[in-house]
């Protein structure tokens, strides 16, 4: 039997590896992207045909301050790619303004974060059904990467709920600046397991500045 990593697509083939997938230790991780054992699923012969439906109402057209901030971040990045330094900086400033307007949750609640991430992840097939029905290639591509990245992020938040932050204690947290994939390890991977950019595209998360 073959098990497939739902984050990066790595295939664990029992006939090659000798050890049955179910007998691997619980802390075994994907050799390619570092995702946990629970992110693997048995290889499917037929694609799933039933996609849960979500009603995407027009109320979603009104963007939140956080979304407006992400919009400005996207435009800033686009200007940067066009070598428009002043425009990139202006959009960055505008993004910071909208970020300052985003409501701050009253409590720091890891359960709440994990719940948002799980429900967001669960919505991907329904959103993908809409982009497919509208033959939108660009959106479909971004959703394929996005779903993989979000699966990794969600699994990290769940792991944090189970065991706290000990698993990041003596190592580094890296984020792929192209697709958002998170990698836990001393060094960034040579290549992003999701979007395939080289290691220098990864950014190391810096610790809190101590005064």
């Amino acid at each position: 039997m073959k098990s497939v990593c739902q984050v990066c697509g790595f295939v664990y083939d029992e006939t090659v590896e000798k050890i049955p997938f179910s007998e691997l230790p619980d802390d075994w991780t994907c050799p390619l992207c570092g995702a946990g054992k629970q992110e693997f699923a048995a290889e499917k012969k037929e694609p799933e045909s039933i996609v849960p439906q979500i009603e995407f109402g027009e109320e979603h057209l009104k963007l939140s301050a956080g979304q407006l901030s992400a919009l400005c971040a996207n435009l800033s990045r686009a200007c940067e790619k066009q070598y428009l330094a002043e425009e990139a900086d202006l959009f960055k400033q505008l993004g910071e303004y909208f970020a300052s307007k985003a409501p701050v949750p009253a409590d720091a609640d890891a359960d709440e974060l994990a719940a948002i991430l799980r429900s967001d992840l669960a919505a991907y097939p329904a959103v993908r059904a809409v982009t497919d029905a509208n033959a939108d290639r660009g959106a479909a591509r971004s959703l394929v990467w996005g779903e993989k990245v979000q699966r990794m992020v969600s699994s990290l938040a769940d792991r944090f709920l189970r065991e706290g932050a000990a698993f990041t204690k003596d190592t580094e947290v890296w984020v792929c600046t192209a697709c958002g994939f998170i990698w836990i390890g001393d060094e960034a991977p040579e290549q992003c397991p999701v979007c395939k950019v080289p290691s220098w595209k990864f950014e190391k998360m810096q610790g809190r500045k101590t005064a």
Binding site: G66, A78, L90, A108, I116, V127, C179
Partner: protein, 166 residues
Amino acid sequence: MKRYAVRNLRMCTKDCLCLFVCPTGATDTENSVIDKTKCIGCGACADACPAKAISLVPYAYPPQQPKTPQVITALHYLGRSKASAESAALRLAEAAGDGMYRLMKGIAASERILGADLMREAGYMLPQSENTRAFLQNIQHDPDYADLPADTVNRLLELLYPDDTE
């Protein structure tokens, strides 16, 4: 299509063949940025560069692929929870010890990138597009953002849409 040359500093290996071939001296600058006012868009520098660090970009971009209202609404649905997740992760980072701080910063950064990508696909790929212009113009009249930095928005409109007669 009228174009001009730009250099990716990350890839430039200072072989300086662009200096040898440029007919106007546009590549000869102290800050390594090709002088747009001198560049005639001939492409000789891009052809000669052994590091492939120079490319030609257009002055005017073509209209973008149209997006249907259904796709936009569905992408915004995801974008909203990305923004909520980002806020929740930043709030957790604030309250956290070092290991958790870096993890939560990473989650927030990741949600930000995913949110920005969704926006790009929801019709905001190009800063020079009609959609972006409409966003910049309309947001100035939104009562939720009465203290919006007007100078920043006006300067962007001026830089990105120089042909506006308004």
